[in-house]
Symmetry: C2
Subunit: 418 residues, 2 copies
């Protein structure tokens, strides 16, 4: 469909449904989430069959194996969605929480109360599980949601949404709380991104190119991260066994994700001891190393890093390595090349740990722990809808609370202003 | 200056200064604010002389009396700036506050720590006091600030900024912490609004037209409110003396501001008693009333309101009045015509009060109090840099906290992810 106003009724319907979504009780929200989980289990064969239609089309079109893998909905994927739904149903409902309340000298009682954002648009690629994960988080936080998945996952997403609609209907709730955008031309989608009167927030999830095009076209606020160029700095005082374990975990455990390690910084004072050791371990895990000139005077056969390497999110078994003269040089390197995503120091020195935590303003800053902990589940938010490296509204993993805002309520007894 | 890249070095300098601004101690920040207050007092004759240059130019150009009034820097205006500076110096420094910290099952200690946003751009008109007020709030919250005042206030703003720069220099701090944008063409300013790599937030303060043009051109997040169409709903159970006092205060005390009352909604059950009374009081204060048809069956000589009236922010001694059948109709009217700014109910009924507070999702919702309390000082934030009706990041009056964000810090002891 090419008419750029095609999605206007959908956005308007979402805005209308958002009042109802905001007023649902925790009990009914949890019941809906649990029923969706049950339906996913009961209808898994049908879901897999619908998914197969997408997979066959994708194969015909010659999509990469990685794309096919992300598109696949198999039993373990369905089980993971069911688990996620149950988990979200167990999380505290953020809506209505009074986070603070205070009394003014004139006896006005002033409070800040958590309310849903309203209408949230999620724009994503391939993975059909995002359809259920994102919908459940938006629903639990009292928001209406508009889902725009990839064309390649159309049958899978349609099946998942129709299943969720059925549960909504059974509970006498309007389907418009949760809508899937039909396949439209790019221009039509861009036109939707101008509907700031009806949509409160856009969260794009996918590659940097998708995200940049959403940001470029959106009048609606966008929360996103472009990439994760994550650093670990090995301080002179570091426990080298710990440094090795953390670096291997951060680089190798799952290299294709945004919180994986991309650049290793080593203090000059421990480089001659630590560099050969970590190079050998990394090579044992098939990691390609691209190093600074000084590294290459210690381990001669290292490939030289280019300026571009310091800015690269490899998402692969590649690591750039640099020796820095001191802590402040490491912090300066992170400030210059980092992406404000996740950065860590390995140290035994108290004051260096505190200095690093204070001066590195990334969304998650760690001492003596793997960068892989920048994750809503791992940090204890329960679940996450994405990670933000934008400082406005949310910074770091976004859980249910980040899908809400705070309004002021004032209890008076006839006060007027002098 | 027309080269659209003119402001790039200024934005880059602000970004560079922002690290230093973020790391300043509370002690030095407060000392700087107090010294600026002292200098304002010591150099008030010079400031007034510089302001006179603006006023003379404005008179020559035939600016309105209201504009001239807003442009004037007289002794009471200087005293107010001095007071505001002292007040900001007394506020808690938000930077570094640990708002929460918790332990994970694997013994990771995870905390959320308040950090400055980075670089904040303020775009405003006429009033030179905004130069000092906004600069002081951004400085206290550890941000670098870029100030873009109106051309008509150039000499006044330049004088105020040069005075602040002098204090910064005396304290060995870089002037780039706080910069004034020179007079530039509109296109050059719009080009600055694309520099999202260097500027974290834009706050426009002024008329709706200015704000809309900033929003339309900015790639940087903007926090703003377009207008305040504020409502008071007089419930059937309302104490009519209280209702009258609150309505008069909200409409008359300062009609030209965004939290003044613009539309009065009256429950049908008390309209025949209350409407004649409030009409008489309002007319006694020279308020023009534009009313719905039902109102005019009770008070016959009322002017009829048009559809446009329900959407109007008069900023003047005009009030639209409507009779509604019940509480939910009042809430629906506010949902349709309101601006999510400030809305109040006058009631003696407990459950209606709670229902109104729960269902009206404006930035400030009040029971039995004047809409004029939507103000940072009045609600106890100490000071405000503006009011947001955008739900993202800040909703309602924005104080020092709203000029910061929260990063995650993680204290580990070698943890890796399974």
């Amino acid at each position: 469909m090419k008419n750029t106003e095609t999605l206007l009724p959908l956005a308007q319907a979402a805005r209308q449904a958002s009042s109802l979504a905001a007023s649902l009780s925790t009990t009914i929200k949890n019941a809906v989430l649990q029923q969706i989980a049950q339906e996913l289990h009961a209808r898994r064969e049908w879901l897999k069959a619908e998914n197969k239609r997408d997979l066959q089309a994708a194969q015909t079109q010659g999509l990469s194996a990685a794309m096919l893998d992300r598109l696949t909905v198999a039993d373990d994927g369905i089980n993971a969605m069911i688990e996620a739904l149950k988990q979200v149903s167990l999380l505290n409902d953020p809506v209505g929480e009074v986070v603070r309340m205070w009394k003014r000298p004139n006896n006005l009682l002033v409070g800040k109360v958590r309310i849903p954002l309203g209408v949230i648009g999620i724009i994503y690629e391939s993975r059909p599980n995002v359809t259920v994960d994102a919908a459940s988080l938006c629903f639990k936080s009292g928001n209406a949601v508009i889902l725009k998945g990839g064309k390649e996952a159309l049958h899978s997403n349609t099946a998942l949404v129709s299943l969720m609609h059925e549960v909504l209907r059974k509970n006498s709730l309007p389907e418009t709380v949760l809508q899937l955008v039909p396949p439209v031309e790019r221009e039509t989608l861009y036109a939707m991104l101008a509907l700031d009167e009806y949509i409160d927030l856009i969260i794009p999830r996918g590659g940097e190119e998708l995200i940049r095009s959403v940001v470029a076209h959106s009048k609606i606020p966008v929360i996103k991260h472009y990439k994760g160029v994550c650093h670990i700095f090995v301080d002179e005082s570091a426990d080298q066994d710990m440094a090795e374990a953390v670096i291997l975990n951060a680089k190798v455990q799952r290299p294709g994700v945004c919180n994986a390690l991309e650049t290793l910084l080593i203090h000059g004072g421990c480089a001659s001891a630590f560099l050969p050791r970590i190079v050998s371990s990394l090579r044992g895990k098939n990691v390609e190393i691209r190093a600074c000139g000084q590294c290459r005077t210690i381990v001669h056969d290292l490939k030289e890093a280019s300026e571009e390497d310091w800015q690269s999110e490899y998402l692969d078994l590649i690591l750039s390595v640099k020796i820095v003269p001191d802590l402040d040089a490491a912090i300066a390197h992170i400030g210059r090349y980092g992406s404000m995503h996740t950065d860590a120091i390995i140290t035994r020195d108290y004051s260096n740990a505190q200095h690093f935590l204070g001066r590195v303003n990334s969304s998650v800053v760690l001492v003596n722990a793997s960068t892989r902990f920048n994750d809503g589940n791992q940090l204890g938010l329960g679940s996450e809808i994405g990670i933000s490296t934008t400082k406005l509204h949310a910074f770091g993993p976004m859980g249910l609370e980040e899908l809400t805002t705070l309004k002021y309520v004032v209890y008076g007894s006839g006060q007027v202003r002098e």
